[in-house]
Amino acid sequence: MIINLLKQCLKKSHGYSELRYHKRDTFTVSVKDGKIDILNRGTVEGACARTLMDGSWGFSSTTLLEKDKIEEILENAASLAEASRPKKKRAIKLASVKPYVDKYETPMKIDPRKTSREELVRLVIDVDKNVRGFSQNIVSDTVTFNILDDELTFLSSEGAEISQRIVRCFGNVMVIARERGNIASAYESMGAQSGLEVLKGTPLSNVGKTAAERANKLVSAEVAPAGLFPVILENRIVGLLAHEAVGHCAEADLVYGGSFLADKIGKEVATKKVTLVDDGLCPDGFGTMKYDDEGVPTQKTVIIEKGICRSFLHSRETARHFGVSPTGNARAWNFEFDPIIRMRNTYIEAGNYSLEELAEDIKEGFFLKGGLGGQADFNGEFMFGTQEAIRIKNGKFAESLRGVTISGNAFEVLKNVDAIGKDFVMRLGMCGKEQINYVGMGGASLRTKLLMGGAK
């Protein structure tokens, strides 16, 4: 057992030391235009050591899981910590946590380890067939399904001993439609931290249909106009607002640098309707873990409660600096990286409006659907892409236009959220911040004002 080997090696460590072991089994099947494009299976496995000596971190990793190599990375981590100490200005201290001894596994009804790959290959082939059969305009598609099966072990010289198995099943569909000289693409995804039962709740075929419908509709559509408009963000993209506009600026490392939330604890930053949460324990959440990669139990962290800024997202290090308890937000992509502050599942709590009610008071605006990439700036300015903009005229939904990137200042946008729907959903996301990671994003459709980067 790898855990016994690690435990043995850790006895010889210096300072405060952590050892993490990570094994990731991947399965991917991807079908492009009726032909198998990717059919993959693989394993990446390794371990890393992180050591805190005299207020300085050192880190080292390896894919060679032998006793002398593990001892070597512990030595390396210690010597790196020592060597860089004179060049560091801050002496790092950690908030104390109870060293937990625990095991956790993603709750699963259908464990992918016990199912045949053949069935999944057939499923993806079927979805591809239906997507291409949706309309003559559809010229090409890609349907992909993945299983990621992570085994994580965390040991610390304080006595923590945590094993977690995190399973993520997820898929996506990309569709290209052409009509005369025009071309349009659409993209949609599904997935959760769960077993293969996720395919029953959110079938890949529905995802294919949504994407096919969208590409087919948009191929003959114009690009949405430019300017500041009242908009309804679809439930599936509200999580992008929570993540990009607010979440990043609540990460304590960005707060430290002076992000726009830095001096806002206890102050009003949004309308009373907005409660915004980063939750490490969401059932099925793509970013759910029982413990983070510092062995800290995750929790539901309320960032904004009824418009008032309440908390930031912390690692052990920043929690100590800010004099609060760690929130369990220190996460690493894999054994090659040391943990940094990351969101887990970020969402805006639901309200009680229907979509029709949200549209009712909009004279001229847009209903935005389908998320694309986003980014946040330190000063609160953020953006993310949308695929489809349905015009709203005098409270009624009208024609579909091609979506555009939208932007705003988090402060203003949050203060303009005046109605939130009841159609709450959680979805999966990927976030890149020095290293990538999986996150959950959620919310219910809501109404605000945003700048649309469209055509004049």
Binding site: K32, D33, K35, I36, D37, I38, L39, N40, R41, G42, T43, V44, E45, G46, W57, G58, F59, S60, S61, T62, T63, L80, S84, K87, K89, R90, S116, R117, V121, V139, I176, G181, N182, I183, A184, S185, V223, A226, G227, Y256, G257, G258, F337, D338, G373, D377, N379, M383, F384, G385, R402, V404, T405, S407, N409, E434, L451, G453, G454, K456
Partner: protein, 448 residues
Amino acid sequence: MSLTDYTRLAVKYCEKAGADEAEAFAQNQQTIEVVLERAEIQSERVKTQRGIGIRIIKDKKLGFAFSSTLSKSSIEEACRNAQNLANVSIPNPDWVSLPTLAKLPKPPNGIYDEQTAGMGGDKVLELAMRSYDEAKAYDKRVDIDDGKFSAFLTKVAISNSHGVEAEEKSTLLQGYLICMAKEHGEASSMAFEYDVTRRVKDFSSERIGRVAAEKALASLKPKVVETFIGKVILDSDSAATILTYPIMNGVNADNVQRGRSLWAGKIGEKVASQKLTVVDDGLLPNGIGSSSFDSEGVPHQKTPVITRGKLEGYLHNAYTANKDKKKSTGNAYRDGYYMLPIIYTSNLIVEAGKKKLENIISEVDKGIIVRRFSGNVRPESGEFSGIAKQASYIEKGEIKYPLKETMISGNAFQALKNIVEIGSETRPTLLKAYVPPIIVDKINIVSK
């Protein structure tokens, strides 16, 4: 055992197990990384990424498996996994063959640098600190948010059942810094600057620090300009994102064959302004995407893409080339051993113009310059929209003031036809394209 010993072993094992064709790609990459965070050295990492990816074909059915462990038993297991997947796969009637043996050119000059290869954590830290100190010394109002400096030493080896066998080593240095400036309680937007080179002697830490600081300061006290349609100067990085990325998509032969490219069937036609010439050169001396062979072991070459606005051809890997009964252009690419090859550019080079950026600016009557683009580009249709960061308003040939809350939007394929001028200062961008500043007309400049 050398990497080639492992790839050879894998191919032999697959053949013995009954594969029609087999290919193994092994990689050993050592990375030394220094991460700056909150104006401080956050961590130093030494990483070794080693592994092997095995592709097998049986009755035109594909299977692929990878492993991060290089040993006889793990390679045998990966071969079995690939084989099992091929068994549940479906035949692809378009499959012809893996690449066959061809003579490889000599390794391009400058892709391996002893000095980079020999760098320890202390040397990488020194690069980071030189950049950091330069930014700090530049102006008191400048703060460093984060940064990362990395040195890579990569070895790859490929073998396949047609006798293709290739091994090469290369080095790379990469670093970036994100700065902001603060004045009277107001913070500028995040300013990003980077460098990427093969050799230590070409890498300028100081320039990264100086330019990041300069950009941050230049975006203090921003104003809003009213919405208009006009000229936009895209610096190398924003030009790469907005213009080069759709070009890469458009000339990718897989996209062309699938009807995903607007440039399908347009060889010989005018797709861009006469001022635009683009080549893909996998053998560029010191090139950050250079090597003597691609990720399938096919020789790298120089391929014309667009010549004075006219579309010359598409970029192929072995699969798309076979399908079109053409020769592969050597554009098979993998990020690592864990993926099947896709089509990607090697060094996509936009030919530089004659004018310096300052002269280009001086000729703009009304327009803006964008030094960072935070937005989305739809590579198939060419639609782009996003925030113009580190952007400034230009009037009568002079930079007037920095902009805030300003977006730009348009269509890249239209914009390629509306290129007004191409600058002389080419640089490698993070998309692995070599791009000079490009000025385009008729772009939407959008504000509230």
